[in-house]
Amino acid sequence: MAIVERPSDVLALPSGSGVARAPLGVFARPRAKTGWRGWVSTVDHKKIGIMYGASSLFFFVIGGVEALLIRAQLAAPGQKLLSASLYNQVFTMHGITMIFLVVMPMGAAFMNYLLPLQIGARDVAFPRLNALSFWTFLFGGIFLNTSWFLGGGADGGWFAYAPNTGVIFSPSHGMDFYALGLQITGIASLVGGVNLVVTVLNMRAPGMTLLKMPVFTWMSLVTQVLVVFAIPVLSVALFLLTFDRLFDANFFNVDQGADPLLWEHLFWIFGHPEVYILILPAFGIVSEIIPVFSRKPIFGYPFMVFSGIAIGFMGWGVWAHHMFASGLGPISVAAFSVSTMFIAVPTGVKILNWMATLWGGKISFTTPMLFSIGLVAMFTIGGLSGVTHAVAPADQQHTDTYYVVAHFHYVIFGGALFGFLGGFYFWWPKVFGYFLNDKLGKVHFWLTMIGFNLTFGPMHILGLQGMSRRIQTYRDGYGFNLWNMVSTVGAFVIALSVLVFFVNIVRSKRRAGSLPPPGPDPWDSRSLEWSIPSPTPEHNFDDDPIVTQLDDWWHQKYQEDETGRVVKVHEPEEIAMIGDGSRAHLPAPSYWPITLSAAFPLIGYGLIFNLAIAFVGAAVLLGSMVGWALEPPDDEDQAPHGHGDHEDGDPDTSPSDSEEVTVGD
């Protein structure tokens, strides 16, 4: 069992036996499993997943308030609730918040929590790097939002076209916060991406070949590969912008011969893969939920997987459809037009497969199922309006109108967010050990569905009527009044639905004690996370699960009898792992990830305001790196033989150990 001593972090090289117990003499090795110390020092992928989820909901409220401000301003013509300058900041921060601080981390929440469970692993490949990703994301998000108190938020729109973002046109510090804040969250995404790609490729349980992985795991893998390759392009764009704004470089200075299209290309080469980064995790989630509540396996599993991979590849060849109005020339426009139409094909395959899964199934309309069907319907609408953008002449008319706003809200809210909300209801009992109330859940769903369509449906009409996006008001008499009012009403209905969701969480938790606990497998599901108790024990699986086929857990419960009928042979409670954790080894907690990530916003503030702060940040960064490298990933004091906490039983003779050795050899 000493095999567990292998350290796991890229740069944290094994530093041998002569290591001090409190590296650098700063921190004692954290031991707390509960309380705030337990949370800030945790390297447990489940706690990190929960923190990702909670932070993304927190930012969701902030982004939602910004959305309500926008809608209140636009409710009637000629309103003066927000000045033009403030309106610019609010819509920019709304976009950045929802994309980088809500949808991406919400996807990360599900991936962190579920990937190791679905592939039968103890944790992710690099637990401390995982903690680093989370804290870096959180501090980056806070850093971005502090701009409100330090001279104003970013005001160049979320795609921040040059030269509009130069110091001349955007003199406040908002765009500096944008460039540095997204750089910080980019570091978080990149580290997380490397970590999760390695986890899925390397940490699968015995027998789980790639084509036996659940669809959610597959979609997460594709997403993280996209993250790994897309984020550096954004990083470069942001570096150029930062150098221009802070150090007077000339990248977007037209006087010096710059070409503003450079920014557009770099941004959208990142930006289009980014939209698949947002949506694919949600596709994975509904691909888990729909089979469970249709009581059928997913229709066409390999097509589901390969269409996801195809989206991942083709997503790199369509970026210029965001730029049809920028004068690229007819050949580029034609090429990107065709490639954009093509990418609708694998997405259509997915829609078809979900519907074919529903077809003939014994459907139960629980809340997660409603959200999943909602995704299929709403994403189809958004996808269809997306295909209309592929037609370049029509797109010339759509560009910068509310039609585009309608489209991307249908795919990101109606797609990604619907999937995540369904995922919350579906996995809540697994994560917290109690159900969210289904009746309130249905109220939540219908309010969301109605509010969503009221808000964004009319924007199609407004856009085609010619209403520009990103303008803080409109005049009376253009025919915009009615639909804007409808849209504003819808936005407040969405706000009400979010309130219902939070009420549901609080109420369900209060009543959890009086209801029967959900048990390991409340929905009669198909993947491995349901083969262990709810809430998930800290060590996940008692032993490595041995996988023999796709939907292995389901096949352990159901088999065919002599007449070919499928019958239940085991109740989940009989065959689920009990979860005593006696043979488990867990990575030790650490304070270094949070201190290291605290350095990034310091460096950011320093670059904007005073270099002295940046030097402090750099010192924190270096100190944390050294402390991290000198701290062994395993806690030697915690284990009797220096490797893991499996005190009971005799590790040298127990059957599971000999099994592990065969695998290890």
Binding site: M1, I3, V4, R6, P7, S8, D9, V10, L11, L13, P14, S15, G16, S17, R122, D123, A125, F126, L190, G193, V194, N195, V198, L201, N202, M203, R204, P206, M208, F229, A230, I231, P232, V233, V236, A237, F239, L240, F243, F247, D248, A249, N250, F251, D255, Q256, G257, A258, D259, L262, L266, I269, D544, H585, A629, D657, V661, V663, G664, D665
Partner: protein, 202 residues
């Protein structure tokens, strides 16, 4: 059982072999290097787009000293050879030779960096600052990012050397040397592209 597991290079840290047979650390390095390709790809594209768009001088033709840069490029390429020798010596268990090659590699990297510092100073004296024209911004950014990568590599090599001197780098940790070697070779390969694109192609 303990020994077998410890000496098996493809054992992950959670008690069983990795699914691909490649260790987590090495796979993570490969994935990261893939990501870095896009970073340099974007920077090189930016440079290619902007290099001839300067409104005023000095231009690349006026400042470049190609024989000098060729020599420092040669030094960097030779460091890939010594890096490979460092890996092969630690795999064979020759700790002493490994130290020599690690030190040589770091030294060659440092010489290359010294050349870059000299070159930057020289260009600056010739009137090409970071903000002078668009070529200056693009040039210093691209070369600077590569320089940062080489410097990080030197720090990692030095760390390996310190570990080795403290007796913590034996053949059982050959993979750590190999993984950092991957990074080092990558940075060299990127330099071949940068040298060709920036200095050799007019």
């Amino acid at each position: 059982m303990t020994d077998a597991a410890v000496h098996d290079p493809v054992v992950a840290d959670h008690g069983h072999a990795t699914s691909t047979g490649i260790s987590n650390t090495k796979l993570a390095m490969w994935v990261y290097l893939g990501s870095d390709c896009l970073l340099f790809g974007s920077l090189i594209s930016t440079y290619l787009l902007l290099r001839h768009r300067s409104v005023g001088g000095p231009t690349s033709e006026e400042v470049f000293d190609i024989p000098f840069t060729s020599v420092s490029s040669f030094v960097l390429l030779m460091s890939s050879l010594t890096m490979a020798l460092a890996v092969s010596s630690i795999v064979r268990g020759d700790v002493r030779l490994n130290r020599i090659w690690l030190a040589t590699t770091a030294m060659l990297g440092a010489v290359f960096m010294g050349g870059q510092v000299y070159e930057f100073t020289d260009f600056y004296r010739a009137g090409l600052g970071f903000t002078t024209n668009i070529f200056g911004s693009a040039f210093y950014t691209l070369i600077g990012f590569h320089g940062v990568h080489v410097s990080v590599g030197i720090i990692m090599l030095t760390s390996l050397l310190v570990m080795s001197l403290r007796g913590n780098l034996g053949p059982e940790r050959a993979e750590a040397v190999e993984t950092i070697g991957l990074y080092w070779h990558f940075v060299d390969i990127v330099w071949i592209i940068i040298f060709t694109v920036v200095y050799l192609i007019p």
